[in-house]
């Protein structure tokens, strides 16, 4: 009988509590979607998530540690030799690049368009990969103390990987260019044609949209960032055009791009500072045509 009473009291208040919480969730979602004002709340809650993520990583890191400790002497020597050779090769290439850059700067100063100084970079390690199969997000081990900011471009040795969307304590969340919510303003290196490349959710395929049938593009064209929209630095490779279809009856061609960056394979990534944090509101850069 006592329990029944408790039950009835509980019921009325249950409805009220549920309704309040539902309204509160909706308010939170609107605030988060429209104004991005909740980064601090997210940051606070991520303090609870971080130790969990860390614990999950322990077995993997342990295996890696063992693997590293028992790598044979010979393998290390071999690696060392190979890396030295690589280093030499890259040095030689860099020398050539230096001359080219100087020449480029000289020519630009002749034309009267000063080129920006080169960008600052920092190496970050991928800490975990988001497990939702419908998203392409990764977490890296740098936070605001290291200078990470929302909208910062992330690259690897081969091209642009994505941008930071949340800065937490001890880690930051990066949206890869292959996420279906991501768009990046680009231009085709060969012709200078501008456009926007969208992610598809598949990490081996991007999509160049809103390009008319008669545009001057062909398979194998290199696509690089245009820097329009101010999010991404200009002239970093994004991908290579893989296939072009021009379906009759459609206004635009459907163009598949293979990303240059190894979106699935890199362990280390580079954070790039190319301009101060500007607006942090829109994820999609308005760089379209």
């Amino acid at each position: 009988m006592v329990e029944m009473n408790a039950l009835f009291q509980n019921r009325t208040s249950l409805v009220i509590r549920a309704i309040i919480l539902i309204m509160f969730s909706i308010a939170l979602m609107i605030a988060d979607h429209r104004w991005n004002h909740l980064e601090n709340l997210r940051k606070g809650l991520s303090n609870i998530i971080y130790p969990l993520r860390y614990t999950i990583n322990i077995p993997a890191e342990f295996v890696q540690w063992i693997d590293e400790s028992i790598t044979s002497h010979n393998k290390l020597l071999e690696d060392n030799k190979r890396l030295k050779a690589d280093h030499l090769l890259f040095e030689a290439r860099l020398q050539k690049m230096d001359t080219l850059e100087l020449e480029n700067q000289r020519l630009r100063s002749l034309l009267g368009t000063p080129r920006k100084a080169s960008e600052r970079v920092l190496i970050a390690e991928i800490f975990s990969v988001e497990q939702d199969p419908y998203k392409r997000l990764i977490n890296i081990n740098k936070d605001a103390d290291d200078g990470a900011y929302i909208g910062q471009a992330i690259i690897d040795a081969y091209g642009i990987m994505g941008q930071i969307i949340h800065v937490n304590e001890n880690s930051s969340t990066v949206m890869l260019i292959s996420d279906s919510n991501h768009a990046i303003p680009i231009q085709i290196n060969r012709t200078g044609l501008r456009g926007t490349v969208f992610g598809t959710g598949d990490s081996s395929k991007l999509e160049l949209r809103f390009i008319p049938h008669n545009a001057n593009i062909k398979e194998g064209d290199i696509v690089s960032s245009s820097g329009l929209g101010g999010r991404f630095p200009p002239n970093y490779p994004v991908g290579v055009i893989n296939s072009i279809e021009r379906p009759a009856g459609e206004t635009f061609a459907s163009i598949d791009i293979t990303p240059s960056a190894k979106l699935d394979q890199s362990r280390e990534v580079l954070m790039l500072w190319h301009n101060a944090p500007a607006d942090t509101n829109s994820l999609e850069s308005p760089g379209k045509k």
Partner: protein, 162 residues
Amino acid sequence: MIQKPYIPITISLLFALMLSMLPLPGWINHIRPDWVTLVLIYWAMALPLTAGVMTAFVFGLLLDVSQSTLLGQHALALVIIIYLVQRLYLRIRVYTLIQQAIFVGVLLAIKQLVVLWVSGITNNAPDITLYFLPTLTGVFIWPWLFILLRDIRRRFCHSQHR
């Protein structure tokens, strides 16, 4: 009489959260059951006075942060289904395991639908061909999870009910 049921509830929910973040090879992600929701449903049914909509809300927010979804997206979905569980827990308890599993399937589907619906409004709706697979795996896993959590409950929280 009640031996702080908060502790096993929190630990099992945090463990479920970890399972939902555990890195697994690609295709398994498509069938990964919704651990946090399943565990929440169990506790809301078994100890409705301890684990309720508030617990659902807090763990919904944690899910949102861990999956980088809109803050409140999972919270909303979880509050709705846990509310349903709290209204119907007396009935669910007397179901057989199979009937329970089917009911849990309905709850999981509602949760998935609400999350999908919010994603759709904010225009990031995922491809839905495989979207409801976790609901199915959730149904298959429910009987085992139920037995496991029941043993945990009997061991650590001398029950309020039954």
